[in-house]
């Protein structure tokens, strides 16, 4: 009863709030949305279009293709990726392709490894009680999470010396191990929330059905945790793909990744804007595609955990 009288209240009040005010707030909301859309998209738009511009168009700040300026494959030709150079031989392209493959292998490899290690640890921490010397579950979790605070500069030099001894310098495996370390805390953080959100009764039902601890995990719980795993994987992928500091320090020729290549190009002064823009576009394209097509997994995977 009380509820219905309360609910009536705003209906009686509503006429007092004029329609114009609501329209105004709508307009303001969409204006803000549009404003931020421009802020987000303009740098990307500028980079993509600049890769098709010649010097005059850059200096005169021409913006709209076919209206302001005639697009040309200029930037892409210098990378060996324009239609007319695509099937010829190009040293620039083979270098780019090599860096690209390196980036894919290191980031996907590290993300997968972190996902496997992190999911296992997160499941253990969410379901069982561990005791290792003085460390309980919370302490173990804190031990993992505390790796997150290590700034790259602290590890950079020891790793340089260590990798030299292990013959891991300038190898993809070396980068994979290091990147796994940097993203593991985030994976554990997301996956623990994910497993905590899955009721423990499901495990118990699985035990009753005769599944072992690992059987219950692999066949019942893991399939339910896929959204969280996607979110953790994508976040790790983003961090690894974009990592620059370690890659710059620990690779020289064989295992160089895309960010290092981009950075080495910006360093030289006489570089052409169009080729730089083409390179940047190519470097960001894979993750932009990931963002566009897999965005819903990030949000839905994080939602389960963020509620607490």
């Amino acid at each position: 009863m009380t509820r219905s009288t309360l609910a009536l209240k705003p209906v009686q009040r509503r006429p007092a709030a004029p329609r114009a005010k609501r329209t105004l707030s709508r307009v303001l909301i969409y204006a803000a949305l549009l404003f931020w859309t421009i802020i987000c998209l303009f740098p990307i738009y500028w980079t993509v279009t600049t890769s098709f511009k010649s010097a005059v168009d850059v200096t005169q700040a021409h913006l709209v293709p076919w209206v302001d300026f005639q697009p040309d494959w200029k930037g892409w030709r210098s990378l060996g990726l324009s239609p007319d150079t695509l099937f010829g031989t190009s040293t620039a392209r083979s270098e780019f392709a090599n860096r690209f493959v390196n980036s894919i292998i290191t980031s996907v490899g590290a993300s997968l490894l972190a996902l496997i290690l992190g999911s296992l640890a997160a499941y253990g921490l969410s379901r069982f009680r561990y005791k290792f010397a003085w460390m309980r579950n919370d302490d173990i979790l804190f031990f993992f999470m505390s790796q997150l605070i290590l700034p790259p500069v602290v590890l950079a030099l020891p790793f340089l010396v260590l990798y030299k001894a292990l013959a891991l310098l300038d190898t993809r495996l070396g980068l994979v191990l290091l990147y796994t370390l940097t993203v593991l805390p985030i994976v554990i953080w997301i996956m623990r929330d994910q497993f905590n959100a899955i009721p423990i009764e499901l495990d118990e039902a699985a035990f009753v059905d005769g599944l072992s601890t690992w059987g219950a995990f692999l066949r019942i719980i893991l399939p339910l945790a896929v959204p969280g795993m996607m979110a953790a994987f994508i976040l790790s992928l983003v961090l690894c793909w974009n990592e620059y500091f370690f890659a710059a320090l620990l690779t020289s020729t064989d295992a160089k990744t895309l960010p290092v290549m981009v950075a080495s190009q910006t360093g030289s002064q006489g570089i052409n804007w169009w080729s730089m823009a083409a390179l940047s576009t190519a470097a960001i394209a894979p993750l932009v595609l990931v963002g566009i097509f897999l965005e819903r997994y990030i949000v839905s995977g994080l939602t389960t955990g963020a509620g607490k």
């Binding site: 859309t37 640890a121 790796q147 605070i149 013959a167 960010p259 804007w273 990030i298």
Partner: protein
């Protein structure tokens, strides 16, 4: 001799006398497990020992590098895992969930950190002829007089404080996205995109081309708006703000997406109840949404601060710390100590001191935040 043969006979008898064998079989599994771990440990130590002898020159037998250790460690770890299951049964299986991550982290963090502390106490310059020399706390003493380092730390205070601004904008965007709007999915994807971009690419896309003094669109726009001399990286404060703006551009989506996830997980009834009680938009945000979101907010703020304290790639690639160290972060400064001055020992000492400061700062932050979140809940 007799003992060993008896043990070997146990698994054979297992199938024949089912009931009584079970207990004895467990015992034998225990022994087998212990033996396996012992064997693996001995093997690992043997490889390590041979390699140490080889490296120190006492023995010629050995391997050209330490790679075998790299292989021996996982092998040992696997053997240890199997041993756990054999000796401890169900509890061993449970430990198996945690062990891979623990072994990995210990191997990759503990040794380098200890080694880093050792390097930090060395007087080691790669460009000088003499090799590393132990110097104790000289590096730390040198640090106290290094104005550039303190300057970089001061900049970090600014960058870290700016996280609050990023948070405010991100919260606004998250609220916008959770309002009743059309094309929500489109806006969500667009707002997320900057997070996907590599800071190195961004440092060219925005720092070196959009904000370019002569014909970058941002400079053109600034001129049009009445700023005659739009040099984004010339004066110290302007440069600092420009770097911060770029970093915010890249990192606001991350804060936004976590806050958005929190807003979506929030029970709808709460906000409806506030509306029913006649609260206006601002009141319902300030008295209902914000307090409920506080735990999520604090989590995301702390994570963001942790990442902010690592900020380096933008600064290295856009300004290289300039003008006059105004935009330097600690990481970018140490990077230059390594690369330009080859001063390995000193750089590592700076990094270690920085790590200590971070640990202290975060411990304080975590303590404080625990108090706040408990007050609300």
């Amino acid at each position: 001799m007799r003992l060993i043969s008896m043990q070997n006979s146990v698994p054979v008898s297992d199938d024949l006398h089912h009931q009584p064998a079970a207990k004895r079989a467990r015992g034998s599994r225990k022994i087998a497990g212990r033996a396996l771990v012992l064997l693996a440990s001995l093997g690992f130590l043997l490889v390590l020992f041979i390699q140490i002898l080889h490296t120190t020159g006492t023995s010629t037998a050995g391997f050209s590098d330490w790679r075998p250790i790299l292989i021996a460690y996982p092998v040992w770890a696997v053997a240890f895992g199997i041993g756990q299951v054999l000796t401890r049964g169900e509890r061993g299986q449970r430990a198996l969930f945690l062990l891979p991550a623990v072994f990995f982290t210990v191997a990759v963090v503990i040794f380098p950190t200890i080694f880093g502390i050792y390097i930090a106490s060395l007087d080691w310059n790669l460009s000088s002829i003499e090799g590393p020399r132990f110097s104790g706390f000289d590096n730390v003493r040198g640090m106290l007089n290094d104005t550039y380092y303190w300057n970089a730390l001061g900049n970090m205070v600014f960058y870290t404080a700016a996280v609050l601004g990023e948070y405010a904008i991100a919260f606004g965007l998250a609220l916008l996205l959770s309002a009743e709007i059309r094309a929500r999915k489109f806006f969500r994807v667009v707002f997320l995109l900057p997070m996907m971009l590599s800071p190195v690419a961004v440092s060219w896309m925005i720092g070196k081309s959009l904000m370019e003094y002569r014909f970058g669109p941002a400079a053109t726009l600034a001129r049009y708006l009445g700023w005659d001399n739009p040099a984004f990286f010339a004066s110290p404060w302007m440069a600092r703000f420009s770097i911060q703006a770029m970093d915010a551009w890249v990192s606001i989506p991350f804060i936004m997406i976590i806050l958005l996830a929190g807003l979506q997980a929030m029970p709808k009834e709460v906000q409806e109840a506030a509306k029913v009680d006649g609260a206006n938009g601002w009141q319902s945000f300030w008295h209902v949404t914000f307090p409920i979101m506080l735990p999520v907010s604090i989590t995301v703020l702390i994570i963001r601060i942790i990442f902010k304290l690592k900020l380096a790639d933008l600064v290295i690639n856009v300004t290289a710390g300039g003008p006059g160290g105004a935009t330097d972060t600690v990481s970018s400064f140490i990077y230059r100590v390594y690369r330009d001055r080859s001063n390995v020992g000193y750089g590592t000492a700076l990094a270690m001191v920085y790590l200590l400061m971070i640990i202290v700062l975060l411990t304080v932050l975590l303590r404080l935040s625990k108090r706040w979140t408990q007050k609300i809940v």
